[in-house]
Symmetry: C2
Subunit: 745 residues, 2 copies
């Protein structure tokens, strides 16, 4: 049964089940929970809670597969622990689910483990989380935030004062970030406020000048913040010592006491929202005077008359010697697991799991309450929960296969996004080419085909496009594309803007960074891997003219294994063109004599965090302070080390105990171990007017490249390029001297 109307616009509908459950056995032990399974798990939890606990009313927050131990999965799939050895004997795998929920009456939070036995899901444990620990914020709570502010009389009155009617009032619910004035155990959000002149008008064109804080359990506005304003520098400025030529309407960036009159403390007039529309929907754009769509973009189609080159069996995808498991994950969006490459009959494991484990977007403005804006879009909201339903010919071209996703609703039903991951092939330009330049010499050119696994997520105003791409030459690429709408705040006329860009009159986009933590659980030819840091440097102690370096050109590559846990946090060094590789010390290349590995190529995406090392956001998001972290994986009853900023991210106030910074301590051996890598990629986004009203995509790329892994270029067996459908652009003007011949081999 489907109840489509209450789902967010990124989802397809809500799915519920009645009668006896028909739970199919999993095909792959990492298959995510199906909608039916989610509903069945909810039933089981609800029954258990009613019978055995004093919990009042359940608000389901998350419900997802608790993955079986790594070695059990590998044994099940017949993947050996070390390439060339025999796989371990298979053991029984119990399918388990993990559920977080809150008591809708008092906000207490619980974690539950449920296991499938036969056709029945049985609760194994219900654990009350410590006071102040907050599970993820659900999409329903985000929607609820808007309802709460609309129902609040003070909010309605404040809006009316700047000419905004109740029905025009909108709010993006955000995690509170950090605000020590509120008790840790209230489940709160900040409501970033906007007005909207019509049903589908771009609300971000009309930011409001106050920020309510809501409690999603009591469903009340509990406080309203008023940011101060900037003015030109005066004799005595708060920023005098910083070199920034402005003054603030208050004497500190710290939050005022809760019992002060926040509006009065801000010491500024009310700022009405900018009135002008800045739309992006075609029908609304068309109404703009003088607006005209381009009429000179001729159609371009991707046509695959014989179908696609990949095979799909449930969540298992096979393409061009690659084999992998692709799963929707409510938190990471996409998780790709058990990635192997068939190297001439030898199935070689490469990564056990690859995913986006966390991200943070710290903003630059210091004045309260703006520093609260540092969204952890993975840990606080869940990238999968925010994933779009994709459509043909829109998000991808050609022949597309979609995978569905599902997450739990407050009431225990499943919210379904039926096409949330798209899988398709793309031509990626030339793969390799060589021409013998001698007279009569021959050429060979081969085109590159790639498999693209894509998801698009809407985080309130922003959009992230995640592409996991596999290539015929053994490369794996993680590409993140940023688009959507900038987070904006209202700006007074003539107000200085030291921490943002004025995009349009009254519209201020604060500087910010997007910092992503890509989690790599490697198994390069087996689970025991070492990460090596390689520096390129001029031959040491060998000046130009010396006997060892006569012309001064000598340079070397110096590799250092990252050997112990306390050395796991690494820095980038541009001057040494530093790079890192994941190698298997047991596997030696027959010719180069170097260890088989995968090298991490991400220089273009490496970005230092700009918040101070002891800032609140740097503490909460330790992962973002370094481009690479290597830690040992430790599996336990709740799976491996998954979450670099902690499992429960909302409202943390410092470095969470079970998080990355604490794993990178001590003397644990990291070489030839079951290691994990957390790679930080990001950009510093100094907004441009060209990013408004919708931002053209910006790309972040991270490449994993086989190095001493294959005996030679593994794509030598890709047939030569010879596309018969390519033709001259202007056939009428084409003659013997300008026309193109087709490829000759």
């Amino acid at each position: 049964m489907s109840v489509p109307n209450t789902a967010p616009s990124t989802a397809t509908g809500v799915s519920t089940s009645e009668g006896p459950l028909k739970v199919p056995p999993f095909k792959h032990p990492l298959d995510p929970l199906t909608p039916d399974e989610i509903v069945a798990v909810s039933h089981s939890v609800r029954r258990y809670v009613a019978e055995k606990t004093v919990i009042n009313a359940i608000r389901f927050i998350t419900s997802y597969l608790l993955p079986p131990p790594k070695k059990a999965v590998l044994a099940f799939l017949g993947i050996p622990l070390q390439s060339g050895e025999k796989p371990e004997p298979a053991t029984e795998i119990v399918r388990k689910a993990e559920v977080d929920f809150v008591d809708a009456v008092n906000g207490h939070a619980y974690n539950t483990i449920v296991a499938l036995h036969g056709q029945d899901w049985t609760v194994e444990s219900v654990q009350k989380l410590p006071e102040g620990v907050q599970p993820q914020i659900s999409v329903e709570e985000l929607l609820l935030c808007e309802e709460i502010i609309r129902a609040d009389e003070r909010v309605v009155k404040l809006a009316a004062e700047v000419g905004v009617k109740p029905e025009q009032l909108h709010a993006d619910g955000w995690a509170i970030g950090f605000d020590a004035r509120f008790p840790e155990n209230t489940r709160i959000q900040q409501a970033l406020m906007f007005a909207r002149w019509g049903r589908h008008e771009n609300l971000y064109a009309h930011p409001l000048d106050f920020i309510p804080v809501v409690d999603s359990i009591s469903k009340q506005v509990i406080h309203i913040d008023f940011p101060p304003t900037y003015k030109k520098k005066e004799a005595k400025s708060l920023f005098a010592s910083t070199g920034v030529d402005v003054e603030l309407s208050v004497d500190s960036t710290a939050p005022p006491d809760l019992d002060a009159d926040a509006r009065e403390v801000a010491n500024r007039k009310r700022l009405p929202p900018p009135q002008k529309s800045h739309d992006f929907l075609p029908d609304l754009l068309s109404q703009k005077e003088g607006f005209k769509f381009r009429d000179d973009v001729k159609p371009l189609h991707v046509v695959q008359p014989e179908g696609v080159s990949f095979k799909v069996d449930g969540h298992v995808v096979e393409w061009q010697k690659w084999k992998m498991h692709v799963a929707f994950h409510h938190r990471e969006g996409i998780a790709i697991s058990t990635i192997t490459y068939n190297d001439d009959g030898n199935v070689r494991p490469i990564f056990y799991r690859l995913s986006l484990s966390e991200m943070v977007v710290p903003y630059a403005a210091p004045e309260h309450p703006h520093p609260r804006k540092h969204a952890f879009d993975v840990g606080e909201y869940g990238m999968g929960t925010m994933a779009n339903e994709l459509t043909l010919g829109c998000d991808c071209l050609g022949k597309i296969h979609y995978l569905p996703g599902a997450y739990v609703a407050h009431d225990g039903n499943a919210v379904v996004v039926k096409n949330t991951i798209c899988i398709h092939e793309e031509d990626a330009g030339l793969l390799w080419k060589h021409t013998d330049f001698r007279v009569g010499g021959r050429a060979q050119a081969v085109r590159s085909r790639r498999l693209v696994i894509q998801q698009i997520c809407t985080l309130a105003n922003y959009e992230y496009i995640f592409n996991y791409m596999f290539y015929q030459d053994g490369n794996i690429e993680v590409e993140i594309r940023l688009t959507g709408i900038l987070q904006v705040y209202v700006q007074d006329e003539e107000e200085p803007n030291p921490f943002g860009t004025t995009l349009a009159p009254g519209i201020n986009a604060h500087y910010h960074q997007h910092l992503f933590s890509v989690r790599v659980d490697p198994m390069v030819d087996g689970l025991q891997n070492t990460v090596v840091e390689t520096d390129i440097l001029p031959l040491p102690n060998a000046p130009t003219g010396s006997a060892a370096n006569h012309l001064g050109n000598a340079f070397i590559a110096r590799g250092t294994p990252i050997a112990v846990a306390s050395e796991g946090a690494r820095d980038f060094d541009y001057t040494k063109d530093r790079r890192w590789s994941i190698v298997n010390p047991k596997v030696v290349h027959p010719h180069s004599k170097k260890n088989a590995g995968y090298t991490i190529m991400g220089k273009g995406a490496m970005t230092p965090m700009m918040a101070l090392p002891d800032s609140i956001v740097a503490k909460r998001a330790q992962f973002a302070t370094r481009p690479l972290w290597v830690v040992k994986d430790v599996e336990g009853p709740h799976g491996g080390r998954m979450w670099p900023s902690g499992k429960y991210v909302p409202q943390t106030r410092g470095v969470p105990p079970d998080s990355l910074a604490n794993w990178a301590k001590g003397d644990d051996k990291l070489s030839e171990e079951d290691v994990l890598l957390f790679i930080t990629m990001g950009i510093t986004h100094i907004p441009r007017p060209e990013d408004w009203p919708v931002m053209p995509v910006e790309h972040l790329r991270l490449l994993f490249r086989p190095t001493h892994f294959f005996e030679a270029n593994p794509s030598m067996d890709v047939p030569g390029a010879d596309d018969k459908q390519s033709c001259p652009a202007f056939p009428e003007a084409t003659n013997a001297s300008t026309g193109g011949a087709h490829c000759a081999h």
Copy 2:
């Protein structure tokens, strides 16, 4: 008339003209010389030389358009010197050619200026170049090098000693690089030697152990070098102080005296070439035992049923509000000039000219003669001269338009490459997207189309693919893709390899860097521009907890104009996430109040040079020592400042006087001036076995992005994505819950 058989395999044929010349007037003053014009210019030079000089016999080396002054070109095209102002009145433009040739008898080099008056090309000047100055090396001289070594008895005998027959002998002619033992005024090359077991077999699989030096004027082998070999470290090692654990068979990396017995000095046995074949042509691959081409790459076509979205008139291309002039250049390959964008009726100039002005590939091995390997592929050989003839469905997909190229042959005829630049469109994924996540919210997705201007060049073993790409959002991207075959040398069994990778038995690929100098002659809203260096930094002097920065998150962007010539050489700073912009200080964005500009995004391609700062290669290739140089453009009778390592690159022995390092000196004002930028992009290539026998492409990307240039996102008028030909990958398995709907707007 066409004489196809003597052209290198990258070209189409040789074109000669007889009878009266029909020279059409140029359409655009930067149109390159046509084959007819090249032949006419040669006739004119030959006649003049015969009548008025004592020069014996001309070997034409280069013959190309001498571009008219910038302001004359802009006036001719009606482009104003400052956006919004009236263009200057047009003045007469005299079409001129510049010709370099050498006296084939004595090697003296000459530069000639020839001007077109009516139908006649008239020699304006013939200037003898100073002793030791060497014009580019022609492709015929490269081919000649192989003939010379084959005709040399000593070479034939040395080859025979290691089992190589005369007909198996091959050589890649390389510039000598640097070797102070030979007089500057001999025109010499080093011959990197290979054997080949069959007509089209991969010769790089069989490197030889000696390196002849040839004089292309006397057509003689004048010396033969024998590299030493490495062995395991002994008690007293040349490399003891360097930390590298090897010993060399000689006691210095310096070259032995010319009168010493080079073979004896090398102090090692002869090394026969590895015997095994490593082929890449499909017919040869197929003969390999057990080899099988992949049969599961299904066809993928790009179809444009209504044709392309661009228009071409000669060399002028118009596409999606962009307009530009695209020219073949024998040295730079592609030069794109007078790039403008039609911003809602206002034609705004962006770049006057964009091209690859130089590059260098320094290798890491210090032992003589390997340090001579540091090819300047632009200045020594000419990227255009090495450009491939392209074929449909092979080098690009879809509807393609080709532009031809022509360069002069030794005898004054024109070598023609009829399809050397391909122009086509590509889908580039999503351009922007936003979804309103609210229940019932709407989405809009727009796909990105790009115009790709591509050339592929073969530099002996290597291939470079140059893509100049224009986007609908105002971005311009320069992408360089590297492929082809690694430069290799023979390696003894068990020989240590501290400066290279052993790709296959006996095959050693030395470490090296590819460092490219992209020359940007900007005219952002006019010729007077300023380059601004922007650092991102935490708010200075404002610790966490201070009144100015309570939570510690504040950061700012600090821009500093590069104001005087002596400050023109810039360094990258990763810790400040440094970036540079080219701005027009006269043009202020109406809302952001910042100057209109284009930002340079090239972090991923920035690479420090590894040769020592006082090394020979760093002196010759000063450009490569910094990621950005800003200098003032100075036009003269030979055009502007074009060549960062000097106009005449072969055989330079230090910093050439008229080169980049000398332009970046003194107090010349750089702000609001006619500036030039030289941007260094590159990679450090530590070869992998996976790069063998042909290297899968590696990408280098440099993006120019409008910043405060457009009032808002200039691509808001691109119609929404709606490709009706996209369809499910597995239609038979598609049902209501898995199928994809088409885009709804």
